[in-house]
């Protein structure tokens, strides 16, 4: 069983993902865990390609601050 499948069973996937850029420190933890490489992180700019994002829920976990908020159903 791959990791994502396991995660699906254990934790609900997200219904939406919100970036609170005012909290972001541009550290790259989110990028490091994104399985589909849909986060663009420049020196002081972050954006997520919501078309590619699978709402897997990894990045809100990895974020050391409260800059990514995932909503579950």
């Amino acid at each position: 069983m791959n990791y994502r499948a396991k995660r699906k069973g254990k934790r609900t996937e997200l219904t939406s993902l919100i970036i609170k850029e005012e909290n972001c420190d541009y550290c790259g933890c989110c990028v490091a865990v994104c399985p589909v490489d849909c986060i663009e992180l420049e020196e002081k700019k972050i954006s997520i390609d919501m078309i590619k994002c699978t709402l897997c829920g990894n990045c809100p976990y990895a974020c050391p601050v409260s800059a990514l908020v995932g909503e579950t159903a």
């Binding site: 420190d25 550290c27 790259g28 992180l41 050391p64």
Partner: protein
Amino acid sequence: MINDSYDIIVVGGGPAGTTAARWAALGGASVLLLEKDRELGIPVRCAEAVGWKTLLKYVQPNPQAVTVKLNSVRFIAPDGTEFVFKTDDVGCILNRRIFDHDLGRMAAQAGARIITRAYVNGLVFQSGKIGGVKVSLPDGNKEIKAKIIIAADGVESRVGRWAGIRTHHVPKDLESCYQMTLGGISVNTDYVSCYFGTNVAPGGYAWVFPKDEDTANVGLGISANRSEELKAQDYLERFVEKRFPGASVLACVAGGVPNTKPFKKVHGDGILLAGDAAGQASPLTGGGITNAIAAGKLAGEIACESLKNGSYLEKNLAVYTKKWEDQWGGEHRRLYRIKEVVNKLSDVTLNNAAHILAEIPSEQITLKQVFRTTLARHPKILIDIARCFL
């Protein structure tokens, strides 16, 4: 003016990137290093501790880049029980701003060209092979050709992925960190302190690394899959409130460290990965400065060698993964297995182990002693730990 073409392009100006650029340039290649931030070494997403002997194997640091030297580690168990043990190597706390600048200077002296505010956002492929990078510069986008790319773009590494190498981490294998540099506090500069416990830093530890009697890097890392309720920042605020109430915060940063098994492959057609981008930081301690420097040097040298031979396809560069594996792979795997076990130990087990160790006079505590004593009195840990050495 940036040329349109170089032998080697290094992405990322951390210790891995600057070291790779230096050794590649020393070998006679034309080298361009691209860093997205405006300054090397800033922000300092690091607690700045290194093993002195290990560091000296690769660089002679500028004395100004070294703050304090110490040779003991103080462990604090979840219930507050402490024990101190002396390390084989002297540790030192760097000033990474100066240290990283210096590594950049050495690369430039060797002939590498370094450009900051250069964000690499894609690779250029020519008939299916890597032929360069796409970079966003303050005055617009540019494509720059290169024969070999060295991806030293840190924990957030994307360059490797664009080349088809899996570099992202499962949350369990990423430490999500937050650190404050505190001033106006009182710290002992004889040792570094590491605090353990599910309430302190689940799946990780909190550190107090002194930079002076009144200043320290105070931070913690938690396993990224254990941040359901609280984030690393929340844990640290709680920790600082308890241990250093009223301290001044001179700086605060978020950051991530890979705590992963070795990657199967840290090379591809025309590409080498080094440092955190290749998951090469210690999976147990999160220390990655010297690992990045060591791998950067190896990558720079091998890239040069391949250029001289005129062949830099995947099969020609495989020697890099092989050499890394031969030198550090076994140790890395062992540390990973220990991490997996340590992260599973309950607070009660950690407390019990600390009670026993606290009774041994600190001069006698060596890593071997720690294991021997714990094992003798706690057969359950014996089983767990034995497993990780098998």
